[in-house]
Amino acid sequence: MSSSSWGTAEPHLPILLVIVPLFGALLVTFLRRGILAWALTLAVTFVLPLIAITLLAKVLQTGQPIIYEIGNWPAPIGIVYKVDQLSAYVLCVISVIGAVIMPFARRSIGAEIQESAQSWYYAVYLLCLTGLLGIVITGDAFNAFVFLEISSLATYVLIALGRHRRALLSAYQYLIMGTIGATLYIIGVGLLYVVTGTLNFDDMATRLGPAIADPGYRNAVLTALGFIFVGVSLKLALFPMHVWLPNAYAYAPSVATAFLAGTATKAAIYLFIRVIFSVFGIALAIDSLPIPLVLIVLSIAAMFLASFSAVFEEDAKRMLAYSSIAQVGYIMLGVALANQASLTGSLAHIANHAVMKTALFLALGAVFYRIGSVMYADMAGIGRTMPLTMGAFAVAGIGLMGTPGTAGFISKWYLGLGAIDAGHYSIVFMIVASSLISVIYIGRITEVVWFRAPSESAKTAKEAPLSMLIPLWLLAGATVYLGFDTQATVDVSAKAAEVLLGGIR
């Protein structure tokens, strides 16, 4: 790209982040052959991280958010896209995960989805990416709803493309839950609109202050908070609103699971943080409703109960799905504690968990590609025949346990510091105790794949092809790398946390 054309494109980067995958999806539907559709999708997904990283660099450099006014209509009349430290960071996480998975997808999708449906898969994949990126980049509450639904509808399709007929049922169940969640969110937004007369997040925040002082409006605002809290919690699978997740993850195509586990709940978590911190200001939430307390209780329940469920699973994908619910608990715990350290931990864990969980699901995808199952019974002893795949699985698993020297530890460290800063010493012990359960479930599958006598299918399995191993090891390597170099995670998270908390004071 020449410098002059870059000059014209550069101010439009925020909208390109959404436009490129959207039109990419459209184009992909015209390609009948799976391989072509894959190639185009690959190209599109590799452009996105470049844009996101450019945006992040710019925001970090100036310290100011980038505001993009669609159609040059300034807020609050028009819709604006707003890229600040937090959203740029989450955009990077989502787009990077979306890209890293793609080289892996060709073989995996080729094996799991029939040729005629492959281009549909890639189109829907891009739509889902559009939606997720849109949720994060938009500065408008209703626009966020639209993107939420775009990503959700795409997600239902992705899940339904799974090979087993239960995938259809899982998609249906998720559709019901997801739609209820999104509708609750939009009800909350509607109430806020009635009170403030605006849909722009920033504008809403400034107008809510006076509104809350008026007893006539106060109840409406609190009701809105309740609706949004529950609605978004459904999407991010906060315990006990997580029931849709294990089946959805278990029966979706392997690549789709890896993608969703890394990104979908993260975008919803972003929305939650954005609304609770930037719009309501956690201060309001503390004063009027016991939101932090509820959130702490639910998060800790998720950390323990979901982890326990993971221990007794016999299906590796479901095991990881339960683990995801527990990890969402960690992130939300940091959000609930709402201080600089805990929030840094939460935000860092968004990236760290995305990297680790995607690596784990990709490893399972490689196993599924070779032996067509991820049940423990079939995976027994597969470490002997697929050592590189399961080696990456072990590395990422160790990260998930929060072992020092891996990404997981960094998040845990800051969460622990956050709990100490908040004066909740008992929570420190709950954090570490629940990660002990993750030692058990990771230890269990490690024992199965490395030390059990090989099953029939494991004996004949071959190591995964290179196109799968490279993305897999890239992510597994990142698990260790992010445990030592925390510039990309902690530094940015700390800045984002500062901005979030600064909005409250």
């Binding site: 209703f142 709803f145 639209v146 639904e149 509808l153 239902y156 399709v157 339904a160 007929r165 239960r166 259809l168 049922l169 899982s170 998609a171 249906y172 559709l175 019901i176 739609t179 209820i180 509708t183 939009i186 009800i187 509607g190 109430l191 609109y193 009635v194 089946n247």
Partner: protein, 123 residues
């Protein structure tokens, strides 16, 4: 008493909204038939349209025409928002129905308990 009734009558559209919302949710939860669940879901979404449109309409107000003869006008934005929401709702229901068709093909039934009976672990 009269006052309460008056309050109720003045806000009757909100009560319709709440009624629709609750009955929609109830159907989603209580019915085992997958299509009936979708109908409930649709009702639930419809209640949102009412919720948005009710405060947007002002009695004796006009369309937003920029002229000094028309002092009060209804806010058009909620209507536009609801157009979008309706589109989203239609897409959701369409996708849901498509899934039900595929489920019927795969399981031969659209009753939830019968499906679970065929796939015991799929709870």
């Amino acid at each position: 008493m009269i006052e309460t009734l008056e309050k109720f009558a003045n806000h009757y559209n909100f009560f319709i909204t709440i009624f629709l919302m609750i009955s929609g949710l109830f159907i989603v939860i209580a019915r085992g038939n997958l299509i009936k669940k979708l109908i409930g879901l649709s009702l639930f979404q419809t209640s949102v349209y009412l919720l948005y449109l009710t405060p947007a309409k002002i009695l004796n107000a006009t369309a937003p025409i920029y002229d000094k003869h028309y002092a009060t006008y209804s806010n058009p934005l909620p209507h536009v928002l609801m157009l979008t929401a309706i589109v989203v709702g239609v897409a959701t229901i369409a996708l849901g129905l498509a899934l039900v068709v595929r489920i019927k093909e795969a399981y031969g039934t659209i009753e939830e308990d019968e499906i679970f009976a065929k796939d015991p672990e799929a709870e």
